[in-house]
Symmetry: C2
Subunit: 568 residues, 2 copies
C-alpha cells in the first residue's frame, strides 16, 4: 500500500473547503488538514449585502458548513483560529500558530493548497481610522455595520467606489432608509465592467432611487467629530457630510505567505499558477481570490474575487492534490449584480477594453424585452455586443435593465467560451415560448445588427457621437421617424432634430436635404434602421441610424411640459 | 442597371413576413409580393393559449403587423385572402386565386418562397365533426373556444395529446374553471421531449393542479348529444365524459403546393431544403413549419413548428432571395413551456432518443435551486443531462421545476451547438451573485456528477431501476443517509430501506451487511454520493447511489401519518 498522502489546505472560505471535500472524495485515505484564521468555515460572503439589508434574516444562513461536518463526514481535520506563518518548501512543512494559545507547531505536507483569499483595498487615506468607516468582506463587518446603523440612527451613508459591492450596498443602504452618496474616481459607475452608455443607463436608475452620484471625484480623506466618528468625506474638490462610510474599492489577493516562501507572484499581484492550478512549486497549489486567472479572450492574466470561480478552482485542486490531472481553463470576467430593480450583467471585453487590447471592433446597442411583448409584464432589457470587425468573433457583451439579463449573459458566456461569431449567436436555437422569450431573443437581434453592419446594410453612430454632433458646428439632420404621439411625449432636444414618421418617409423624401448627413432615430433603432435603408434605396448617400435610439439615450431627454410637471 | 428581382412569398405567418422584410432591407429595388390565405399577417399563434385564458386580454395584441405596414414602410405588395394553387417551375409562374372573387391570376417570379406552415394533425376519428371539438392554431380557433366555453358554461374539457400545446392548454382550461382530462397514447406527458422520470415529476404537478391524466390510452372516437355536441371521448378501454375536446396531436407540414410541382419532400414529410434553405428547385426557397430541419446532434432531419425557428429561416431566405448566401445551420429540438407553476425545458436528445440513436450514454439527475439557497424565495429545479460515455460530449438536457429553467436550457443550447463536453460545461464562467445563481450552477453540478461517473468515483442507479429492485427478489440495502427528522417526514416505503445519517456512517459501518449490494439515497443525492465514497473507502465492494434521490423519486412516497392527515 502506498504512503498516505498528507494534504494541508490553508484558508477555509470557498476554494479551501471545496478542495478539501473533493480531495477526500478522490482519496479516501489521505490525511487532510484545513487551516483557517477565523472561527468559521465556508461563509457565504457574497450574501453579506443582503444580510446587512435584512433580506437574509439570519447570519446562520450564511454559515454553510460547520467544522464538525468536515470531521464527521469527510474525516478532515480542521484547525480554526489558526494562522499559517511560514512555508518551508524544501522541508515540505508549514509553520502554524494558534491564535488562541499563541503556540507554534510545524506540520508536514506532501501537497499544500493556498486559498488565502483577498483583502479589501484600503488606500492610506487621512482619517481612515475614524469610527464609522467600514469595509465589507466578513460577517463581522456586516454585524458591525448593522449595529452602528441601528445604534446611531445614521442618516447619511457614503460609499466610496462604484464597483459591484458599492452598487449592491447602495440598494441595501437606501432600503434601510439612508441617504446614500456614491463617490467614484472614474467617469461612470462600474467603470471596470461597463461601457459609458451602459453605465449611464444604470446611473439614471440609481438617481431615480435617490442615490447621489459623485463621479470623477478623488477622495483624499475623512473628517471626524469629537467622539472620533466620521462626519465628512473630503474630496479634492469638496466635501460630503456623512454618518458612515463604506470603502468598496475592490480586493487585493493575500499573497504574503506565498511571497515569503518565494512562490512566483504574477504581474496582476495574484499568485501565478498553471492550468493545473499549480504554483511555481509543483507541490503547492493555489486557488480562489489569491491567484491570477487567464482571461479566455485576451489570454492575459486577470484577478477575480468571486465565489463561483473559487469553487471551480477548489474542485480542480482537490482532484489534483489527490493525484488527478484536471485543468482549469480560465475565466471571462463575467459579472452580475442586482442594483435596485435593474439586473446588470456583463462578460468578456467591453468596448473600451477591446479597443485597448488592439481589436478593431464593431458593436450593437439593442433595446428589447425579456419575453414576448404581447405576454404580460415583460420588462425591458438593453443588450450591447462587441465583436471583432474582421472575423465577426464575439468579444463581449453587456445586458442591463429591469428584465431578465442573467440568461442572456450566461448564453454569451457559453458562446464566448467556444469562440462564437455573431453568425453563430444569431442562429442559436434558444428556447422560445411567450412567457420566456421572443421568437427572436434580444441576443439574436443584437447579433443581427452587427451582421447587418458587417455586410454593409446598416451604418450607425453611437449616441455619444450623436451627442457631440448636436453640440457641434457641422450641419446634419437628426431624423426622428417615430409617430407624432411618441415625438410629443419625449424627444431629444436638438435644433437639428425633425420628425417624419416611418410610414410617411417614402412619400416625403423631398423634405430632406440630400446634401447633409442624416442620422435617423426612433425608440429602439428598428425603425431607424429601416429608415436608413429606405433613404439608401432612394439614393441618399450619407445616412446612418443612431445605435439604441431614444431607449438608450444616455443624456437628458425632453418631455412634454405636462409630463415634466408630473415629474415623469 | 440590373433587372428588377421579382420575389413572391407564399404564406404570411412568421417566416414569410420575416423573409419579405429582410429581402426588402437587402434589396431596395426588388418587386416583392406576399400572398396569404387568411385575412391577417404575422399572427403570434404561440400566444393563443394565453389569449384563450385571458392572460393576453385583447386579440389585437397577437396581430403583430398590418398589411398597410408592409405596403407603406416596406413597399411590399400583400395579397390577403389569396391562395396559391399551382407553381409552374419551368415558366417561373404561380397561379393565384382570390378567395373573395374566385378570380385566378398568374404571377411571374424570379425567386419564390414557400412558407406555407403546418396544419394540426387530426386523425380520422369517429365523431370528429361533432360540435365542441377543436384544434388550436389560428386566432379563429381561439375565438371559437372562448365563445363556446362562455356560452355553454362547459364544465369538463378533454385534451387529446400531452404535447406542448396540450400542456399549455391544460393550464388555461383549469384557470377558466374547467375539470380537465388529458389523454395520451404514450406512457407519459411530453413523450417526444422528456424522459420517464422527468415526465413523472411534471405529472405530479399536473395532478396537484387537478388535471386528470389518462396515459397509455388510445382514443377511437367521440359520442355526441342530440344537438350534435360532443359529450364523450371514447377510448379503447373506456369513456370520458366531456363538454369540449381539444385535439393537440401535433402539426403536419403543409406541402401540397410543393408536392404538386414536384419539389422533393423529405422522409419526415417536410419540404427538403439545403443549408441555404433552397428546395430541390434552386429558385424556390422554403422555411417555417413546412420544411424539415437538420438536427445538429444526430445530423438527421426533423420537423419543428416553432416561431423562433421560422423567424430565423425567414432572415436567411430574405437574404438569399435578394442575392445573398446565408446559411441556416440546423436546430437542437429545443422546447420550453410554462405548465402551471413549473417551467419545463429541454434540448438535444433525451436519454431514450440518445440510446435509440446508438449512443452509449451516461446521465445525471440533479435537483438544485435556481439561486443561492440563503437568498430568499429560491425555487427548486431538476436537471437531467445526457452525455456520450466515450467522449463526455453532451447530447442533451432537461430542466424542470418551479424555479428558473430557461437560462439553463439556453446555456445547454449554446453548449450543444459547439459540441461541448461535460468538462467544458463544468468550467463555464457563468454569472454569479446570490439573487441569480449559486456559486456553482445546477448545470455545473450536473456536469460534475457525470464527470464523477466517468472517472469512476461515482456509481449510481436511476430511480426506475431502484424501483424494480424494491419490487424484486434480490437482496439489497436501500440506505437512506438523511437526518432522522427528514426520514420521519417522508421516505421511500421499502422493506429493504434503512437509515444511517451521513454524520454517523463512519462510526456505524458494522451495522451494514458487506455481502449485499447497497444503494444510498438522501434528498438530492449529494449526501448519497458522499456515503458511497465513504463505503468505497471502507472496503465495501458493491455500493451505488440513487440518481436524484428523494427529490426526484417518480413514484409514490410515504409521509408520516400526521402529514398525510393534513393532506400534505
Amino acid at each position: 500500500m502506498s504512503k498516505q498522502n498528507r494534504i494541508i489546505i490553508i484558508g477555509g472560505s470557498a476554494c479551501g473547503p471545496k478542495a478539501a471535500a473533493r480531495a477526500r472524495r478522490c482519496d479516501q485515505h489521505a490525511m487532510i488538514t484545513m487551516v483557517e484564521q477565523g472561527e468559521r468555515l465556508s461563509v457565504a460572503t457574497c450574501g453579506l449585502p443582503y444580510y446587512v439589508s435584512g433580506v437574509i434574516e439570519s447570519r446562520d444562513e450564511l454559515l454553510q458548513r460547520h467544522p464538525d461536518f468536515f470531521r464527521d463526514v469527510l474525516d478532515i481535520d480542521v484547525l480554526t483560529r489558526t494562522t499559517a506563518t511560514f512555508i518551508n518548501r524544501e522541508a515540505h512543512t508549514v509553520e502554524l500558530v494558534s491564535l488562541d494559545t499563541n503556540k507554534t507547531s510545524i506540520m508536514e505536507y506532501d501537497k499544500l493548497v493556498l486559498s488565502t483569499g483577498s483583502t479589501p483595498a484600503t488606500p492610506p487615506l487621512q482619517g481612515r481610522d475614524l469610527k464609522g468607516i467600514f469595509t465589507l468582506t466578513k460577517i463581522e463587518d456586516a454585524d458591525a455595520i448593522r449595529s452602528v446603523l441601528a445604534q446611531r440612527k445614521s442618516k447619511k451613508a457614503t460609499i466610496i467606489g462604484a464597483g459591484l459591492i458599492g452598487q449592491e450596498m447602495a440598494e441595501t443602504l437606501v432600503a434601510l432608509g439612508l441617504e446614500v452618496t456614491i463617490i467614484e474616481l472614474f467617469d461612470r459607475v462600474l467603470p471596470a465592467l461597463l461601457d459609458f452608455e451602459i453605465s449611464a443607463y444604470l446611473e439614471k436608475h440609481l438617481k431615480a432611487n435617490g442615490v447621489n452620484l459623485l463621479l470623477n471625484q478623488r477622495v483624499t480623506g475623512f473628517n471626524g467629530d469629537n467622539d472620533g466618528w466620521v462626519n465628512k468625506v473630503v474630496m479634492e474638490s469638496g466635501q460630503v457630510e456623512t454618518n458612515m462610510v463604506l470603502l468598496a474599492l475592490g480586493a487585493r489577493p493575500n499573497t504574503t505567505l506565498a511571497q515569503k516562501c518565494g512562490l512566483i507572484i504574477g504581474p496582476t499581484r495574484g499568485i501565478a499558477v498553471n492550468e493545473y492550478l499549480q504554483t511555481s512549486d509543483p507541490d503547492i497549489y493555489a486557488g480562489g481570490d489569491c491567484i491570477e486567472n487567464m482571461n479566455l479572450i485576451t489570454k492575459q492574466k486577470m484577478l477575480a474575487a468571486l465565489g463561483s470561480i473559487a469553487n471551480k478552482h477548489g474542485r480542480v485542486i482537490g482532484s489534483n492534490v489527490a493525484g488527478g490531472r484536471e485543468t482549469f481553463p480560465g475565466i471571462l470576467g463575467t459579472a452580475i449584480a442586482k442594483v435596485f430593480e435593474y439586473n446588470v450583467a456583463r462578460v468578456g471585453l467591453n468596448e473600451s477594453q477591446a479597443r485597448e487590447a488592439g481589436y478593431d471592433v464593431v458593436t450593437s446597442l439593442v433595446p428589447g424585452y425579456e419575453h414576448a411583448t404581447y405576454y404580460p409584464h415583460g420588462k425591458e432589457i438593453l443588450v450591447k455586443l462587441i465583436a471583432e470587425k474582421s472575423t465577426g468573433k464575439l468579444l463581449g457583451g453587456q445586458v442591463i435593465g429591469p428584465g431578465e439579463t442573467g440568461k442572456r449573459v450566461d448564453v454569451l458566456v457559453t458562446a464566448l467560451t467556444f469562440g462564437a461569431t455573431v453568425d453563430d449567436l444569431a442562429n442559436l436555437d434558444l428556447a422560445y415560448a411567450p412567457p420566456f422569450n421572443n421568437a427572436l431573443d434580444p441576443l439574436h437581434n443584437a447579433a443581427n445588427v452587427i451582421r447587418n453592419k458587417l455586410s454593409g446594410y446598416a451604418r450607425s453612430l453611437p449616441p455619444m457621437e450623436v451627442h457631440d454632433k448636436i453640440q457641434g458646428e457641422d450641419k446634419f439632420t437628426l431624423l426622428d421617424v417615430r409617430s407624432p404621439d411618441e415625438w410629443q411625449e419625449t424627444r431629444i432636444a436638438a435644433t437639428q432634430a425633425g420628425l417624419i414618421p416611418l410610414r410617411e418617409l417614402r412619400s416625403r423624401l423631398n423634405e430632406l436635404d440630400r446634401a447633409v448627413e442624416i442620422v435617423t432615430l426612433c425608440h429602439s433603432s428598428v425603425r431607424a434602421y429601416q429608415a436608413q435603408r429606405i433613404l439608401d434605396g432612394a439614393g441618399f448617400h450619407d445616412v446612418k441610424f443612431m445605435d439604441g435610439s431614444i431607449a438608450t439615450w444616455p443624456y437628458e431627454i425632453s418631455s412634454t411640459e405636462a409630463e415634466s410637471a408630473q415629474g415623469v
